[in-house]
């Protein structure tokens, strides 16, 4: 995987910029789409819907429940360098950052998407989008700085259950803060 020109030199940072832009685009799309549906119920109702959905998705993440989640199981072609050393990695990162053309092995992005669609304001959606892109960038840069031989992936697999549990905690804490804010009604 790391043999692609996309991962070399400054291209990795351009790729990460694409991840952030893609995630930001998805977040704003969810905000617009969700805003049209929010009129169907008061904000207080949506808060309970999101809390219930988040709880179910967290149980799925922990392996307690099993159910299908939508995902577009396609990988972005890695050799997109035909678009040049800047726009190739940028396009690659953007498409992956939107999360609409990638495998999604976790349920947490779905929970985040629902929260943005039904609870977030414009600023919150921007923050969530940037955070999502940076979270994905942490994987990319962590992988590249950790080693040159994909041992990062091995380290992930070695501690996968613990990492997933940590990430559930890291997700659940801010979700609780957000959903307990009185402004939601």
């Amino acid at each position: 995987m790391l043999g692609s020109p996309v991962w070399r030199g400054n291209a990795r940072y351009v790729f990460c910029g694409g991840l952030v832009l893609g995630a930001l685009t998805t977040a704003l799309g969810l905000l617009v789409g969700g805003s049209l549906l929010r009129f169907a119920a008061p904000t207080g109702i949506w808060r309970w819907v999101i809390m219930t959905a988040t709880a179910l998705l967290i149980l799925r993440e922990l392996g307690v429940l099993r159910f299908w989640l939508p995902q577009n199981k396609r990988l972005v072609p890695e050799y997109v360098d035909r678009h040049g050393p800047f726009f190739g990695p940028l396009q690659f990162g953007f498409e992956m950052g939107t999360s609409v053309r990638t495998y999604t092995p976790s349920a947490l992005p779905h929970a985040a998407a629902l929260t943005v669609a039904f609870i977030a304001g414009p600023w919150a959606a921007i923050c969530c989008g940037i955070g999502f892109g940076l979270g994905r960038s942490a994987m990319t840069l962590g992988n590249l700085y950790y080693s040159n031989d994909n041992r990062w992936d091995v380290a992930w697999l070695d501690h996968e259950r613990l990492i997933r549990a940590y990430l559930v905690v890291a997700y659940a804490i801010p979700a609780t803060v957000i959903l307990s804010q009185p402004a939601l009604g």
């Binding site: 923050c127 990062w152 957000i178």
Partner: protein, 62 residues
């Protein structure tokens, strides 16, 4: 590159270290919310951390 630098990189960029960092960040976010009450940070930090945790959780996809 000296062994120490390699070793410290291994620790700093290990997936478990990044996940631990996210937990610490989430805890700090909640703590500032409880200690200082509603503020601009309250509408910013939790959303960033929530997004980052969700984004990093998709790491298995690459």
């Amino acid at each position: 590159m000296s062994w120490d630098l390699v070793a410290s990189r291994r620790v700093a960029f290990a997936p478990l270290s990044i996940a631990t960092g996210l937990v610490l960040l989430a805890t700090a976010t909640a703590a500032q919310s409880v200690l200082f009450g509603p503020s601009v940070l309250d509408g910013t930090l939790p959303w960033c951390v929530l997004g980052a945790a969700a984004g990093f959780a998709t790491s298995g996809s690459v």
